[in-house]
Symmetry: C2
Subunit: 182 residues, 2 copies
């Protein structure tokens, strides 16, 4: 447990100033590089599992968001993933063909193909989310009581200001959908 030696990093911090819009202090090297390494490890756990199913990261993203937002429209998914419909179409087709995702005609608007995970799809999605949650849970537990909140605040603040609201609403809505009003 813990060869973590944080004190050795961050010689002289305080770059792009705590105050206003300072121009260009020394780059914040530690966070830049830690983000690279942390994100790489974060996505690597699912990658190993996905490989066994002949799926890649693209499939993971689709499966994840469909699992979290059952009944979402294709257009919504395109909006969340910010990829082209051709790129989405490729992986979505495989997920449907292999029985991980279903498409149902919209009730009001019959042009829509609402997306749902199948039982099989949910199992895989939850397995992958479980792996990532284990890593996150371990990390947060190592740090202390307010770690979750601190991490969330940091990550939210790293998102483009224009998208933050949308992202947070997406997350909150998915949470509500998953466990309906008590």
């Amino acid at each position: 447990m813990a060869d973590i030696n944080i004190s050795s990093l961050s010689k002289r911090a305080m770059p792009t100033q705590t105050s206003g819009s300072a121009p260009a202090g020394e780059p914040i090297w530690d966070i830049i590089e830690l983000l690279f390494f942390a994100y790489r490890d974060f996505v690597s756990d699912p990658d190993d599992v996905l490989a066994k199913f002949n799926f890649g990261r693209a499939h993971h993203r689709v499966l994840h968001f469909v699992n979290r937002n059952p009944g979402m429209k294709v257009a919504d998914l395109l909006d969340v993933l910010k990829i082209t419909k051709q790129s989405l179409g490729r992986v979505l087709k495989q997920l449907v063909d292999d029985g991980y995702v279903e498409q149902k005609e919209g009730e009001n608007d019959r042009r829509q193909r609402l997306l749902y995970v199948t039982a099989k799809g949910e199992t895989l999605a939850m397995k992958l989310a479980g792996l990532q949650s284990e890593r996150i849970g371990r990390a947060l537990a190592e740090i202390g009581p307010h770690a979750h909140d601190a991490a969330r605040r940091f990550l939210v603040a790293m998102i483009d200001a224009e998208s933050r609201d949308g992202v947070q609403k997406l997350i909150a809505r998915a949470d509500r959908a998953r466990r309906p009003r008590p």
Copy 2:
């Protein structure tokens, strides 16, 4: 300024327990998804600049680490990036041909090709690091005094235990090299 509404998230937290190796609580959806969105935005700023130079993310990574660790061996770079020498070779060749990176014969071991950024290379590397630092600096400033430390601890803890030490040493060593002993 601040459509950040953190309180709306995280209905019921405490998944993979604060204590030991609990098996499989509810996934930590917010962090999973925020990491996806935050990292996407984090790499998007450099992407736009790189596109103008006909470079991609792979070039960015190489340029970044060579800038941070002048004189590093090709083998070291392969180790950090965890890609094959063929993948590295492709982008490295372009960076050298275009005059962003130089290779010098090792003094002790003349088989080695030690890597250095040129003036041009440093300018670009610093510009990209500056963009990312602006985003990070803004985020940390928004949050509060201990944000940098909290973010660093979180990210370190997210890295595979076996690599943490190496990563932190890499960062610390690069910091020392950049501003030699006072």
